[in-house]
Symmetry: C2
Subunit: 151 residues, 2 copies
Amino acid sequence: MQGEKSTDPGPFNVGLLLFIPYRELEERVFAAVQDAGYTDTTLPQARLFQRISAEGSRITELASRVYITKQTASVLVSSMERNGYVRRVPDPLDARASRVIADERGLAAGKVAAAEIQRIDREWRQALGSARYDRLRRDLQVLARLTNRPQ
Amino acid sequence: MQGEKSTDPGPFNVGLLLFIPYRELEERVFAAVQDAGYTDTTLPQARLFQRISAEGSRITELASRVYITKQTASVLVSSMERNGYVRRVPDPLDARASRVIADERGLAAGKVAAAEIQRIDREWRQALGSARYDRLRRDLQVLARLTNRPQ
DNA sequence: AATATTAGTCAGTAAAGCTGACCTTAAAGC
DNA sequence: GCTTTAAGGTCAGCTTTACTGACTAATATT
């Protein structure tokens, strides 16, 4: 037996370690939104929706953030548009482009989601301890910035 | 102005903070596998594949881990089976069930994936520092255990 | 002015993912 | 034991997601 280099990595690779809590949170938040009556939504739509910025976002921008093609993003936006979650407005600076902005129904559903995320946040903060949880978030931000993708 | 409770949470919620590095890793690993010649694979298949244990796993078990229905899991397994990545073997203990096990081609592709994950691991460890990276992994494991899902 | 790039849609197709119905075997209740 | 309930899995049918390729219109570049 030799001295261990570091901590036991456990059975999971980093990808899985990130995936498990991520997917659990997503599932809970989506369930909360559905339970609140927003049943005409889907997970892929929600994934895109949460990346829309306050000033409105471009289709291409959203596609890149969610790791899908712009064509797929366009379809998702159209569905959400039909259901009153978002709107397309012409971009004042670029006549080719349009900006996707959250509409009333979208904002309302977003509040439900935010509330559930806050609940989970509290749970996780309690489980890890406040300092450790904050550190975790900071470290994840560092990793997020490592990707050379616009965020 | 009041004293801050803790660190600036940044623009992203925890879900997003987990998603961004997760999805980036997944993308890189998948690209590596494709580049190595395993072009008859898809991301959903790969997500399921990596959850197959050495002794073989049940369809239902895999479905639960990946957050999909058993029907969908069955379809993914059938595709991978056709392409030689996995096999179904009857479960000796339960005549209803079968166990999915990795086949030759699957094991080979798995090695390519593992190598790429190791590369990313090194990068991330370097970016955060060894101690901090290990701590991150430990904390993620704690969160993973919080979900009351079989893992 | 010509050319290349970017934003986005349209069309077509394959894969993923769901619900519901069903069969078979195992477990639980009596 | 026998009956009932639950669990593992597939089949069928359908919608959504997601891709590639082709195209239009507008902006940038040279």
